[in-house]
């Protein structure tokens, strides 16, 4: 965990949320291994990955939790988004219900997540334009109204996936209070403290 020359290195816990089959695992696989699998096994429970990204002269090591999407697994989600520095909420642009579900996740993050969490909305499967059901405009407006990063992505064609992580990293670095690196930011400077922590709003410590 050596710092990059002149830059700083930090850890960020990131969680992927969104309806089943929207492409959360595919987005992670694209980001971490630059691969795509046509028939990606559904995620049971949650999967963990880590990947370092360098933006300008700072590097961010993402500790990524990829969760199971089906509503029934909802009760397992809080432990993954609690204390997360960032969240990607994915929907499938060919599926209106998945967009509605994404909005629910955003609401839940706003209500129960940590206040500093950077949230990105990902309209995935952007390669399937012929079957589009959710307009980019509608999603962008929703993202703007709620202070979310927004991108349409395609894990399949590798469109906007690394860009999205870079933008998240940039936001995280910007949010880092200068001169007070261990301040209230959720971006953690110590490599060993990337595990889930009680959110700042609810912990008594």
């Amino acid at each position: 965990m050596a710092s990059t020359a002149g830059g700083k290195s930090s850890n960020a816990k990131l969680v992927l949320l969104g309806d089943a089959g929207t492409g959360k695992s595919s987005i992670v696989l694209r980001f971490v291994k630059n691969q795509f699998i046509d028939f990606q096994e559904s995620t049971i429970g949650a999967a963990f990955f880590s990947q370092t990204l360098t933006v300008d002269d700072a590097s961010v090591k993402f500790d990524i939790w990829d969760t199971a999407g089906q509503e029934r697994y909802h009760s397992l989600a809080p432990m993954y988004y609690r204390g997360a520095a960032a969240a990607i909420v994915a929907y499938d642009i060919t599926n209106q219900a998945s967009f509605d579900r994404a909005k629910k996740w955003v609401q839940e993050l706003q209500a129960h997540g940590s206040s500093g969490t950077v949230v990105a909305l990902a309209g995935n499967k952007a390669d399937l334009i012929d079957s589009r059901k959710v307009s980019a405009e509608e999603a962008r407006r929703y993202a703007q109204d709620n202070g979310l990063l927004f991108m349409e992505t395609s894990a399949k064609l590798a469109t906007n996936v690394s860009e999205m992580f870079s933008q998240i990293a940039k936001r995280l670095i910007e949010a880092q209070p200068a001169g007070n690196p261990s301040g209230t930011s959720l971006l953690l400077q110590t490599p060993s403290s990337t595990m889930p922590r009680p959110s700042s709003c609810c912990s008594s410590s």
């Binding site: 559904s42 999407g69 490599p191």
Partner: protein, 341 residues
């Protein structure tokens, strides 16, 4: 899931009596003798089974722990799970569920069909027989129990069963498991709030602390809890992301002895890698807990270790504690709800 070629070969030739040895080595003499013993124990079409189990339960248990011969596995699974009786008591019911009923979960099931064992030859072909029977079983179950419906994870259970038996047989075995034909019902794995997953995880966490105190402490320090690595073990009974040869041997025992073997195998995995795990920081620890070394995946190494870990009594005690804690929480939340009103 890693697919073992010999696994597939055996499975699809399940009527032939030739079978590879437990380490993949072909042992004609020993293997044939083993199968002959098993056939005698079962009787024609399972006719002698119940009698044999009643007379010699320990012999049966010992033989099952050594592995059910692959060519008899499908039949024996149905006998030990109690699903055969359900099937006989409910003629025509499966057909009714599949053909005439509609399910609210149909689209969810379709979404996941090609994402269940996607690299296994039997399930690979789009709309092939494997995918079609998987769809039918899951749909039938989602109608049979509309409250539970279809939940991701069930597909791996059904898929594993379908490698060894017909759709209808697989369906009734799923019913036997989830509704509790011989052991306590497991439908709580899939009910709203996943109550049984929560219970198993809390029991498992405690067992880890008791059996491996140092590792338990390391987990607490690194803030790793079993939900992060073991929920899929329970939700799919090791049928997800474990090599088939190991999963099958676990299922042999699971169907006969019940869920305690899932705890035992989980603990054995931790025990096997104990000295490495204890050194790892969070970001290496979690991946290590999802990716055990190949030598740990050898059933003839792992299972004897698992059986040597005694858990039955503690599981019962921990179940009581969990129940009390839950009741306490329930009372608290209802009383606080009353106060709010």
């Amino acid at each position: 899931m890693n697919i073992d070629e010999t696994g597939i070969g055996c499975v699809k030739n399940s009527s032939s009596s030739a079978s590879s040895g437990r380490n993949g080595i072909y042992l004609p003499g020993i293997e044939e003798r083993r199968i002959r013993k098993w056939r005698k124990m079962i009787g024609v079409g399972g006719s002698d089974w119940k009698h044999y189990v009643r007379r010699k339960p320990l012999v049966v248990k010992r033989r099952i722990r050594k592995g059910i011969p692959d060519c008899l596995r499908g039949l024996v699974w149905q006998l030990i799970s109690g699903s055969r009786d359900l099937l006989l008591m409910n003629p025509g019911v499966y057909e009714q569920l599949v053909i005439y009923e509609t399910s609210a979960s149909e689209l969810d099931i379709i979404r996941d069909i090609s994402r269940t064992f996607p690299t296994h030859v039997f399930f690979q072909q789009r709309h092939g027989p494997g995918q079609r029977s998987l769809y039918n079983v899951l749909k039938a179950y989602s109608v049979y129990d509309r409250d539970v419906g279809y939940v991701q994870g069930m597909g791996f259970l059904a898929g594993l069963l379908l490698l060894y038996m017909s759709e209808e047989d697989a369906f009734w075995l799923l019913v036997a498991l989830l509704k509790g034909a011989v052991h306590s019902p497991m439908e709580g794995l899939y009910q709203v709030g996943l109550p049984l997953v929560q219970k198993y995880l809390s029991q498992f966490e405690q067992l880890v602390k008791e059996k491996f105190p140092k590792l338990g402490e390391h987990f607490s320090e690194e803030m790793v809890n079993p939900s992060m690595y073991a929920s899929q073990w329970f939700i799919t009974v090791f049928s997800y992301s474990f090599p088939f040869p190991l999963a099958l041997r676990i299922w042999d025992v699971f169907l006969y002895e019940g869920v305690k073997v899932v705890f035992q195998v989980g603990l054995a995995l931790l025990g096997y890698c104990h000295d490495e795990l204890i050194k790892l920081p969070f970001e290496k620890l979690v991946p290590a807990l999802k990716n055990f070394p190949e030598d740990a995946m050898n059933p003839d190494v792992l299972l004897p270790m698992a059986f040597s870990i005694k858990v039955s009594r503690r599981l019962l005690e921990l179940e009581e504690e969990h129940k009390k804690r839950n009741q306490g929480m329930l009372q608290q939340s209802t009383s606080s709800a009353k106060q709010k009103r």
